[in-house]
Symmetry: C2
Subunit: 344 residues, 2 copies
Amino acid sequence: MSRRINLAVIPGDGIGQEVVTQGLKVLRAALPQDVKLETQEYDFGAKRYHATGETLTDADVEQLKAHDAILLGAIGDPSVPSGVLERGFLLKLRFLFDHHVNLRPSKLLPGVATPLAGQPEIDFVVVREGTEGPYTGNGGTIRKGTPHEVATEVSVNTAFGVERVVRDAFARAQARPRKKLTLVHKNNVLAFAGHLWTNVFNEVAKEFPEVTTDYIHVDAATIYLVTDPGRFDVIVTDNLFGDIITDLAAAVSGGIGVAASGNINPSGEFPSMFEPVHGSAPDIAGQGKADPTATVLSVALLLRHLGYEAEAARIEEAVAADLGERGESTRTTEEIGDALAVRV
Amino acid sequence: MSRRINLAVIPGDGIGQEVVTQGLKVLRAALPQDVKLETQEYDFGAKRYHATGETLTDADVEQLKAHDAILLGAIGDPSVPSGVLERGFLLKLRFLFDHHVNLRPSKLLPGVATPLAGQPEIDFVVVREGTEGPYTGNGGTIRKGTPHEVATEVSVNTAFGVERVVRDAFARAQARPRKKLTLVHKNNVLAFAGHLWTNVFNEVAKEFPEVTTDYIHVDAATIYLVTDPGRFDVIVTDNLFGDIITDLAAAVSGGIGVAASGNINPSGEFPSMFEPVHGSAPDIAGQGKADPTATVLSVALLLRHLGYEAEAARIEEAVAADLGERGESTRTTEEIGDALAVRV
Ligand SMILES: CC(C)[C@H](C(=O)O)[C@@H](O)C(=O)O
Ligand SMILES: CC(C)[C@H](C(=O)O)[C@@H](O)C(=O)O
C-alpha cells in the first residue's frame, strides 16, 4: 500500500464541484498523516464542451492514466444534447479504462428515510458489468427520419467479459457473512445472452461451493427490491439491467443522495473511477443544497480499492453515525461535509 | 358491438386453470342476458409440451384466429427449460397476432396494501410496445460453450412500429382527465433507438396539443415509481423497459395479484389476448390460494376492448369494492371469484 495517492479530480457539472469539495475534505481528514495526497483537477464537462467542442481527447486520456484513481462529481447539463457527455466522456472512460466491475452497494442505514413501509433491512451490493451489453454503441440506423427508419441496438456479451465480472462477484459474495449471489438477467427472452450469462454463472459457481446462488429475471427483481430487499446479498448483472436496478436500489435504501459507486478495473492496469450515482442536478446547483454523502461514500470505496481498508471503514462509520442523527435537519452541503470530516 | 362473443380460453400451467375459472365466472355474471358467450378451451402449456413437444402449431394459430379474443391464465413450468414456453408460445402469439399495444394499468385502490409508505395515489397506465425491441429474437452466438463465446441480442425498432404505439398512447392520454404522456427510454445511451423513439414521440405530440409530455430515462423512472408514482398518467415505452417497469408498477400498486394486462391488436385483424401479469406460480398451484383478481381485471380489459364499456366498468367497481373490504381475509380463489361475481 503506497504512502502516496495521486488523484485525478473531475468536479464536472452542476452540483459536481460542491460535492467533490466535501468529498476531498473528508478524504484528507481520513488519511493518515504520512500519506501524501496529490490532486489534479480536470475541467471535463459541459463548460469545456461548449468552449472547445471536446469531451475527452487522447491527450486527456494519457494524463488521466498517470493517476492512481479518479474522483468524479457529476457530468451532464441540459445545455448539451442528451448523450453527448454521457457517451463522449463517462462511458468512453469506462470503456477505455476497462472499468468492468461497476460496484454499487445499497445499505439502508438506521434513521435514514426510505419510501418503503416498515423500514426493511437492506444490505446488498450490485456488481454491474461495465464494458459490454447494450452499452457498446453497436447498432445503427437506416432511412433516418423517414417513415421507414429502422434503428438497432446490439447487446454484445463475451465469455471473457461475463466470466471476469461473475468471478469478481463470487469473490465478493464469498467474503460477506451471508455468502449469497443472485444472477439477474432475462434469460427466458434474451436467450443468446441469457444462455451465456447463466452458463458462465453456473460454471464459476463450482469454484465457490460455499456461496449460495440463485437466479431472478430482471422484471421480478424489481418486485423483490420493493417487497423483500432483504433477500439480496450480492447481485451480479449486465450493464443495462444493472443501470436500472441500481437506481431503484438507491431509491429504496436512502435515495440517490447517499448512493455511491465505483467503476473498477480490478487489474489496476488503468485507474478506477469513483462517483456518486446521482447526476449533476442543475436545478439545485450552486445553492449549497446538494447532499455530499454519496460522494463521501464513493471516497470510501476509492480508499478501499487503494488498500486503505481501515480509513474506508472509518468514513462509512462516520456517515452512518451522521445519518442516524440527521432527522429533518437541513444543513448545507458544506455543513454536512464538515460534520463528516470532524467525525472521521 | 356484437351480441355474441367467441372466446378462446387458455388456462395454461400452475394456477392458470384456477384463476381462469373465476375470470369466466365473473365474465358470465357481467354480460347482459342477450349476449351469447361461446368459449373454447385450449391445452397449451407444459403438459402439452411434454406430451407432444409442441408449443403452438400452425393449425393452433389458425384455430385461434377465429376467435374474437383470448383469455390466458398463465404459461410456464419449472419442468420446461426457461424460455421454451415463453418464446414458443407467449411471445410467438404476441408477434403472430401483432399485439403491438401491451396495455398495463396500475391503480392503487383504497384499502389495498402497498410496500410504499404513506399510501400514495397511483393511477397510471403503461403502454408497452409488444412486437419489437430486444424481444424480436434477433441475435446469435458464436463459439458457444468456449472461452471465446460471443452472444448478441439485437433490439430492432422501426418508425412504423414505434409510431403506431406512440400514437395509441397519445390517444389514451388524450382521453384521460390529466392528459399527460411520459416517454420512458434510455436515449442517452441507446442513441440509435433512443433517437427514433424521441423523434417519433415529438412528431406525434404535435397532433395532440392538449397532451402534456415529458421524457424520463428508464433508470430514473424506477426511482419515481417508488418516490412519486403520482406523477405518472400514461407511460409509453419499449418492449423490454415496459416489461421491467410494469412489474415494478404492479408491485407498488397492490402486487401482481391484482395486475391485469392486454396484448392488443387495435386493428382487430387478429384477436387480442388478455392475461394477468403474474406467472403460473407452481408453488401454490391447486391449493385454492391464488388470487383471481388480476384475471378478473384482465376480463374487464377484454370487455372494454370488445366494446362492452359499461360491463368492464362494473367489474372494475366490483373489484374496487371487494378490495376495499378485504383486509386480512384469507379467502380461497373460488370465494373471491364468487364474491366478485355476486357484486357484478
Ligand atoms: C449517465 C449514464 C450514461 C449512466 C449509465 O447509464 O450508466 C448513469 O445512469 C449511471 O448509472 O452511471
Ligand atoms: C414471461 C415473459 C416472456 C413475459 C415478458 O417478458 O413479456 C412476462 O414477463 C410479461 O411481462 O408478460
